[in-house]
């Protein structure tokens, strides 16, 4: 049930592109419904529960989030935001071909824009990928902001 190194790297680039193209249904389909999208607040934070975070979203929250983005009365998205990821080459830090589990670390610069505003964020994404029925899926995703202790305006889309 193993996958090739290229398949893993492709998966990471593909996810970023799906987000940039706002293909949210496709994006949700990449996830295992047990997964969490975690954006820690604290530098090198280890506990997602007893310290708060920017995001610690279960599958329901992720679905809610993408549903909301297209809602008729989602005023903060009238007009819509857009984003563009540029990824450093992903690094496969851990690979368990037996279990079909992979840990991939990717530094990226994330640009989010709306009307005349533009926000640039430096983030490091850590993907836990799992092979299910021969296909790669996101088991968990952690996104660390390089300046997690800074004050931010709205960040409405997902790095």
């Amino acid at each position: 049930m193993s996958v090739s190194r290229d398949q893993i790297i492709d998966f990471i680039y593909n996810e970023a592109r799906i987000l940039d193209e706002a293909r949210y249904a496709d994006w949700i389909a990449l996830w295992l419904d047990t997964g969490h999208y975690w954006m820690p607040l604290d530098f090198k934070q280890t506990d997602p529960h007893l310290v708060t975070s920017f995001l610690y979203e279960d599958f329901f929250m992720l679905r809610l989030r993408v549903e909301r983005l297209n809602g008729a009365r989602t005023f903060s998205q009238k007009p819509k935001s857009r984003c563009l990821h540029v990824l450093n080459r992903p690094s496969i830090d851990e690979a368990d071909d037996e279990a079909g589990r992979y840990k991939v670390v990717t530094a990226m610069h994330y640009l989010e824009t709306r009307l005349d505003d533009q926000l640039l964020l430096g983030v490091t994404a850590t993907h836990d990928l799992a092979v299910v029925d021969g296909a790669l899926r996101i088991a968990n995703k952690r996104v660390d902001l390089v300046n997690c202790d800074a004050a931010f305006p709205n960040i409405q889309l997902l790095p």
């Binding site: 310290v51 708060t52 009365r73």
Partner: protein, 450 residues
């Protein structure tokens, strides 16, 4: 409004009073640069402002840097165990003594520029080559005293407040009955104590600080502005066939869709000096699920009756004007830090109920990220409104903001009152206090001095 000051308001209490007619507020209160500067000088100096929580500086020498209005300060635990609040400014050439958000400075502060040192109560400790100042005018000058402490500091059940002005209203007179919300929040700890949990969520809204403060008791906006998040959550949950256990989001976010009737019945209480809260009779926090073991711990600590009484209190948002909003059921403080007439920094802190199960802290942490972060959908809803209003108020077609809801005639804000949960009385109460503390020091001799 003019982008430059015409001096229309400086030392002109009458002009300040004319900005509020009881039911409407002039937009200069939200957009004018001169008004903002006067707020820093008067309102934010004459009132009691939240600084932090003493559990942020548990040990001697522990410090925390923040600002009161536009004034950088350091909160520090002195060697005598007391919490002091000092201006973050070296008396030599003005260098900020520390800019780390927090740390421990040991027995004294040492300025990084020329090594003047100060006890943790601010008193000058030593100057290298001190003899260089023998017989100079430094001796006897205010600079020789060391780091200047703020006008007054008061720690109430762990919460540290300060008044910049040396003289002014006392802590008790200023907050009076409003302290009951802090009491309830702290009483919810079987040990009667809170502890800060992690750093705050920090976010920037491009709007006046008062738009955030007014929103805290704005019970007519959730079902409208938050339909996108709360309404969608409800629909999505239904589409899934209302599975149990409910996703946490349904407990935290869904109640924002509560109908007007609920908001009316919820009730609003106001106290003198601009303080007030929503959720007198019940609130969107009322239906939170019970946490195993918590009630037992509370009973053990307080006895069943008292424990019930504490937990039956379900206040929603309490505003301690002008600087914070806090809650009872959720151990959170939202600190509003003005950065300009159209820019506000919000720091959202959470606290652990000492002696209570972790699950309560977990719920508070979850509430905080779901409702307050730069990445929170609910915050996106609100921020969009604030920032649109900040821009909308620059239009000249209408110069007044309306706060008339349930304002049927002259009100006295000197008395505590409970009213229909949809009233804008608490917003009026805030503006009334705003006028009071903007003008109280306006003609004091200190003015002339500058």
């Amino acid at each position: 409004m003019p982008r430059y000051a015409t001096g229309r308001y400086t030392n002109n209490p009458a002009a300040i009073r004319a900005l509020f007619n009881g039911g409407q507020v002039h937009r200069d209160v939200y957009v004018d640069r001169e008004i903002y500067d006067l707020e820093m000088k008067h309102l934010w100096s004459n009132t009691w402002i939240f600084v932090g929580h003493d559990s942020q500086v548990p040990n001697k020498g522990d410090y925390f840097t923040t600002q009161i209005g536009n004034q950088p300060v350091i909160m520090v635990r002195h060697t005598d165990g007391e919490v002091h609040v000092l201006y973050n400014r070296c008396p030599h050439k003005g260098t900020k003594i520390a800019i780390d958000r927090e740390g421990n400075t040991g027995k004294f502060f040492r300025c990084p520029y020329h090594a003047w040192s100060f006890k943790t109560d601010g008193c000058l400790l030593a100057i290298p080559l001190k003899k260089g100042y023998d017989g100079t005018a430094l001796e006897g000058s205010k600079n020789a005293k060391g780091m200047t402490p703020v006008g007054a500091v008061h720690v109430y059940r762990g919460f540290v407040f300060a008044r910049l002005a040396e003289h002014g209203i006392s802590f008790d007179d200023y907050f009076g009955g409003s302290l009951s919300t802090i009491d309830n929040m702290v009483d919810r700890s079987p040990a009667g104590r809170l502890e800060v949990a992690g750093p705050p969520l920090r976010y920037i809204n491009n709007c006046n600080w008062k738009m955030l403060v007014e929103n805290q008791t704005d019970s007519c906006h959730p079902m409208v502005a938050h339909e996108s998040s709360a309404g969608t959550a409800v629909r999505l949950y239904e589409e899934m066939g209302n599975p149990e256990p409910r996703p946490p989001a349904m407990e935290i976010i869904a109640p924002f869709m509560s109908p007007y009737e609920f908001m009316e019945g919820m009730g609003i209480r106001t106290w003198p000096n601009g303080h007030g809260h929503t959720g007198v009779n019940m609130s969107i926090h009322s239906d939170y699920s019970a946490i195993p073991g918590y009630f037992d711990a509370m009973t053990k600590a307080y006895g069943e009756e008292r424990a019930k009484a504490i937990l039956d209190e379900n206040r929603h948002n309490t505003v301690y004007f002008p600087s914070i909003m806090t809650k009872g059921p959720i151990q959170q403080v939202r600190n509003f830090i003005p950065l300009g007439p159209d820019k506000t920094l919000i720091e959202s802190w959470i606290y652990r109920l000492v002696g209570a199960p972790d699950m309560l802290l977990a719920r508070t942490a979850m509430y905080s990220r779901m409702i307050n972060a730069s990445t929170s959908m609910v915050a996106h809803d609100d921020t969009e409104m604030y920032e649109r209003a900040q821009e909308g108020l620059t239009t000249n077609g209408l110069e007044w903001v309306d706060l008339n809801r349930l304002y049927t005639g002259p009100e006295s804000y000197d008395e505590e009152r409970v009213e229909n949960g949809t009233t804008e009385r608490q917003m009026r109460n805030q503006i009334d206090a705003w006028v009071k503390f903007m003008t109280v020091s306006m003609e004091a001799p200190v003015e002339a001095a500058e």
